[in-house]
């Protein structure tokens, strides 16, 4: 027969001082664990959401990122009439893009950041459908005008609708602010590629990448085959989401690696605290336990009861940790993605899955911290313990 649960709940309440220590230890580990994962996944999600499944990105074969790729207008021409490429009102939906970085100071620290600048044509809006203008308008071709992302406005000094930005020997007016739903584009500055090229001393009609809107998701394979079969082309064609996923891998792995390491070590510390609490609970109640056993409850019932008590403490810690980490959701922070050599803002993402993960982590600590004391409780020699009375 099992012991009534209320026995353990009462016991936790009676020894609330020692219980709190264990609860807070577990809460701290869970909080840090969730925060680090929310950071890593937020970063990855921001990059991946920049791409879309039915877009393909064309880069030079062997290029590691957009930055070190070169795509010529001839390359674009060779592919834009393919039947896999969707068409809009003004022709094939292909956006050749020039991608560079500009030195602009961070608002927070005053130190320079590598801001990603993307030279595009107005057609880019038809290809990147997630881009919405929330203020002002899109730049006019052949005008020194800029459209900046919503995070760029917040992060870099001197940004804002109507303001003038000086870089590369020209004055640019900010005419629009775009919102792309928290993707990497929100940290970018967009302008006319035909004006950007001379500023960066580059010939016209040389781009870093071309993004193609496909007729359907499944059109990628045939387009890849076509590119491979064309002897004029030295390009790689990838799904846009796959490119961004790859571009996020290094930093995501770094944060995940360090975060897991730190959370694990904290977890070991929390298990120590839980063990301490539970051993103390067992020691203080040796007579009680002996009495229960003398009444006829089995060893298993005692183990189950004490394990339940540990899990109760762990669950409380887990919930507090989750609640503590929850306000992080949506907070934006910035980092340098060394794969694209540019600074990027993104939001922490605390998802239900992460919270579930945090609870599992908490319960795991509860089992590790509760099982040895529970085992000892069940093994208490009844006669010796009762003789203490």
């Amino acid at each position: 027969m099992a012991l009534p649960l209320v026995y353990n709940i009462e016991s936790v309440r009676t020894r609330w001082r020692t219980t709190i220590v264990a609860v807070l230890g577990i809460a701290g580990s869970v909080g840090v664990f969730i925060a680090m994962l929310a950071l890593a996944f937020g970063f990855k999600a921001a990059l991946v959401s920049s791409g879309s499944k039915d877009n393909a990105m064309i880069r030079r074969a062997g290029a590691t990122s957009e930055m070190d790729s070169v795509v010529t207008l001839e390359d674009v021409r060779a592919l834009e009439d393919a039947q896999e490429v969707a068409r809009g009102s003004s022709g094939p939906l292909v956006s050749p893009e020039m991608v560079v970085v500009a030195n602009l100071p961070l608002k927070a620290t005053g130190t320079d950041a590598n801001v990603q600048v993307r030279g595009v044509s107005p057609r880019a809006l038809e290809v990147h459908r997630g881009v919405k203008l929330i203020e002002g308008e899109f730049f006019k071709p052949s005008m020194f005008q800029l459209v900046v992302g919503k995070y760029a406005v917040k992060t870099y000094a001197g940004m804002g609708l109507g303001r003038t930005l000086r870089f590369g020997g020209s004055d640019w007016t900010i005419v629009g602010v775009m919102d792309t739903g928290g993707s990497a584009f929100d940290s970018e500055i967009w302008c006319d590629s035909n004006l950007l090229a001379p500023v960066y001393q580059r010939p016209l009609n040389i781009f870093q990448s071309a993004t193609v809107r496909l007729t359907s998701e499944s059109a990628l394979g045939p387009l890849q085959d076509r590119a491979k079969g064309d002897p004029r082309l030295q390009v790689q064609v990838e799904r846009e989401t796959a490119y961004y996923e790859k571009a996020s891998s290094m930093l995501t792995n770094l944060i995940l690696g360090l975060g897991t390491l730190v959370a694990t070590i904290m977890g070991v510390g929390a298990v120590f605290a839980a063990l301490n609490t539970m051993y103390a609970a067992v020691a203080e109640r040796s007579r009680e336990i002996a009495t229960i056993r003398a009444l006829g409850f089995s060893e298993t019932a005692v183990i189950v009861a004490f394990l339940f008590e540990a899990l109760l403490i762990a669950a409380a810690g887990g919930v507090i940790g989750c609640i503590g980490a929850l306000p992080l959701n949506g907070i934006t922070t910035g980092t340098m993605n060394f794969q694209t050599f540019s600074h990027m803002s993104f939001a922490f993402r605390v998802t239900p899955g992460l919270l579930g993960f945090g609870m599992i982590f908490a319960l795991l600590m509860g089992v590790l911290g509760g099982l040895p004391p529970a085992w000892r409780a069940s093994r208490l020699p009844i006669t010796v313990a009762l003789r203490d009375l």
């Binding site: 062997g62 590691t64 070190d68 560079v100 770094l254 120590f272």
Partner: protein
């Protein structure tokens, strides 16, 4: 000292509890050491930066080159002692995951600019003798198992093609914070084999100023002399230049301090709690000590010493383990944090924090032990 047996007897009366509390300290200090090391490895560039070095980059951005002709103009600027230059190569060794910094450097001036990178006379002369020569840092050479004499194939990305270099030397850092993950080859080799648009351009200049010069004034003088040209410059101290990279990485300092505080606060609770438990259990014994004539202060000292002993033993073990982890385990991210080193300052600050937590945790239980009234304590027995 003569009370040592009493102290030890108290500590061993609940062995499991003592071990767990010492263990908590060890875990916390291990984590402290690790966080300190991670923070330092992000800040490594700033800490290793030369105080008298300036970095000259294109004003538009670091990815834009500067003409080679600027070398002589920088060199001639009064206040400048010497100048060198380099290009970022950004090639791929075997796989994109195997990232390390590759620079095409001017072999005749690089050595004088960076005396913190140690190489033998023979290695330097071999580097000057062969155009295909390259030098790798100790960290990178160890990571890929390279030996002097190896031929290293690198796939060019910015400079397309299959490049091959002969490893003639492996450099060490003079100080532990020096980055030994770099890979250098000769700039003239890059010029010969790179695409035509790279000819006559360098990535950036590094200049050393004469002792006693005003760095900010010198930097603006350099920038003014190139103003209104096609290739305007931005000159910064090496320290500031490095800091702009670190600041872009985000607020790592804040992250580390937050985690560290959570850990130490929890630790305070754990230790305070177990000391309180042990004082409560020993109420009778403490009363006996007082009854036979030991003073209140002695009892206070006894409990405090116990708390401190637990803290110092646990903390010491933890920080030693962290040191051992950085020495034998090394960078846990597989090559992204090349400088992974726990400094003496880190060890000492960890130990200081330990002692503080030990004192703070022992204080309340020790005070209650001091206040303990003999008569009342005996009445409970």
């Amino acid at each position: 000292m003569k009370y040592l047996p009493l102290l030890l007897a108290n500590l061993t009366r609940r062995k499991v509890r003592t071990i767990l509390t010492v263990g908590s300290f060890a875990v916390a200090l291990f984590l402290f050491g690790l966080l300190y090391t991670i923070r330092a490895s992000f800040n490594q560039g700033i800490e290793a930066a030369g105080a008298d070095r300036l970095v000259v980059i294109n004003k538009v951005s670091l990815i834009q080159p500067l003409p080679l002709a600027y070398r002589d103009r920088i060199q001639r600027t009064p206040g400048i002692k010497e100048v060198t230059y380099a290009n970022w190569f950004g090639g791929v060794y075997q796989d994109e995951k195997n990232f390390f910094a590759q620079f095409a450097v001017d072999h005749s001036t690089w050595r004088a600019m960076y005396p913190e990178f140690l190489l033998s006379e023979k290695e330097w002369s071999d580097f000057s003798a062969s155009r295909t020569a390259c030098i790798a840092g100790e960290f990178t050479a160890k990571r890929f198992g390279w030996k002097v004499g190896d031929r290293i194939p690198v796939r060019g990305v910015i400079y397309p093609g299959a490049w091959e270099f002969d490893l003639v030397g492996i450099y060490k850092g003079a100080r532990p914070q020096d980055d030994t993950s770099q890979f250098w080859f000769r700039w003239d080799y890059l010029q010969e084999n790179g695409p035509p648009w790279t000819k006559g351009y360098v990535g950036w200049y590094v200049a050393r100023m004469n002792a006693g010069e005003d760095m900010a004034a010198l930097a603006s003088k350099l920038d003014e002399s190139f103003a209104n040209s096609t290739w305007e410059t931005r000159t910064q101290s090496e320290q500031f230049f490095m800091a702009s990279f670190v600041k872009q990485m985000g607020n790592i300092e804040f992250l580390m301090v937050t985690i560290g505080s959570v850990v130490f606060f929890t630790l305070l609770l754990v230790t305070g709690n177990s000391m309180a438990m042990s004082v409560r259990e020993r109420t009778g014994e403490l009363a006996v000590l007082k009854a036979v004539g030991f003073t209140d202060t002695f009892v206070l000292g006894l409990v405090m010493t116990e708390s401190l002993l637990i803290a110092v033993v646990g903390g010491g073990l933890g920080i030693l383990a962290a040191k051992a982890f950085t020495v034998f385990g090394g960078d846990p991210t597989g090559g992204l944090l090349p400088v992974f080193y726990l400094s003496m300052v880190g060890i000492v600050s960890g130990l200081v924090a330990t002692v503080l937590v030990g004192v703070a945790a022992g204080l309340l239980p020790a005070l209650s032990a001091r206040r303990l009234q003999v008569v009342q304590a005996f009445r409970r027995l």
